[in-house]
């Protein structure tokens, strides 16, 4: 697939959250064959050095890093976090998340479009986490996004693809945009048919 001019062989992006241990995370990252690993930025506690051990594992994988703005609830916080990620990781890539609802972690799509436009003007290559809303994705593309990450369903819900029609419509209407279906897909063993469907629309 194409991501801002870079060809990536694996269609799987892998996250780093919720592993039972750093060793299991490291094994999973290696076994996945994924070329892209998503990483968060969080507040560091004084004297903790908690980020160092984690980062040494991830950076040792040789994978491309896709930092995110997880946890940000305002445009300003998301933009600042993106700028801090660029400083730390040295990449223009940013998975942009602006959370609008604490319970479902549904994206604030209004804030998302605003933040994406700011960051695109600042030279970022933005991967916005969004819903499957056609108009919102159009606005993100207008803002300069060549990649969008529509959800399958709310984060952690494991409901699979709740609106296949919506995703197919995005694929048809934006044939040149890389779509990465993100969030809510559920475990592979419980939804194999949906998983296969989810991976095929990526360009």
């Amino acid at each position: 697939m194409q991501l801002y001019g870079q060809t990536i062989q694996s269609r799987l992006l892998i996250g780093t959250a919720l592993y039972p241990s750093p060793a299991v995370m490291e094994q999973a990252l290696q076994a996945s064959g994924a070329e892209i690993v998503t990483v968060s930025l969080r507040r560091e506690a004084a004297g903790a050095k908690a980020g160092d051990a984690f980062w040494r594992i991830v950076s040792g994988m040789g994978a491309k890093i896709l930092p995110n703005t997880a946890g940000c609830r305002t445009v300003r916080d998301a933009v600042t976090t993106a700028q801090m990620a660029r400083e730390l990781f040295g990449t223009p890539w940013i998975k942009l998340e602006v959370i609008g609802d604490d319970e479902t972690l549904q994206p604030d799509v209004v804030g998302l479009v605003e933040a994406a436009a700011i960051l695109a003007r600042d030279g970022f290559q933005v991967f916005p986490y969004c819903t499957e809303d056609l108009t919102v994705v159009g606005r993100l593309v207008d803002a300069g996004c060549e990649v969008v990450m529509p959800w399958a369903s709310p984060i952690g819900s494991a409901k699979g693809i709740i609106n296949p029609y919506g995703l197919r419509t995005l694929r048809a209407r934006f044939p040149d945009v890389t779509l990465i279906v993100d969030a809510g897909l559920g475990a592979l063993r419980t939804r194999p048919r949906r998983w296969r469907w989810a991976t095929t629309p990526c360009s």
Partner: protein
């Protein structure tokens, strides 16, 4: 001087970013700092002055996403 560091009010003697990190026992190669939403590059930590009431964010890579 009173600052807000990672959301918490802190009274500190430091007047630069580098001194603040030392005073609060922040170490490591993988820290990134912003003051009042402006990123302070590592090369500027020693010169970057702090002022009363500044909001300082100190972040590090973590699991997530």
């Amino acid at each position: 001087m009173v600052l807000t560091v990672n959301g918490e009010r802190q009274e500190v003697a430091a007047t630069t970013v580098k001194a603040l990190l030392g005073e609060l026992d922040y170490e490591g190669d993988f820290l990134v700092v912003a003051v009042n939403h402006d990123v302070v590059r590592r090369a500027q930590w020693e010169q970057a002055k702090l002022s009363e009431g500044d909001r300082v964010e100190i972040l590090t890579p973590r699991q997530g996403g």
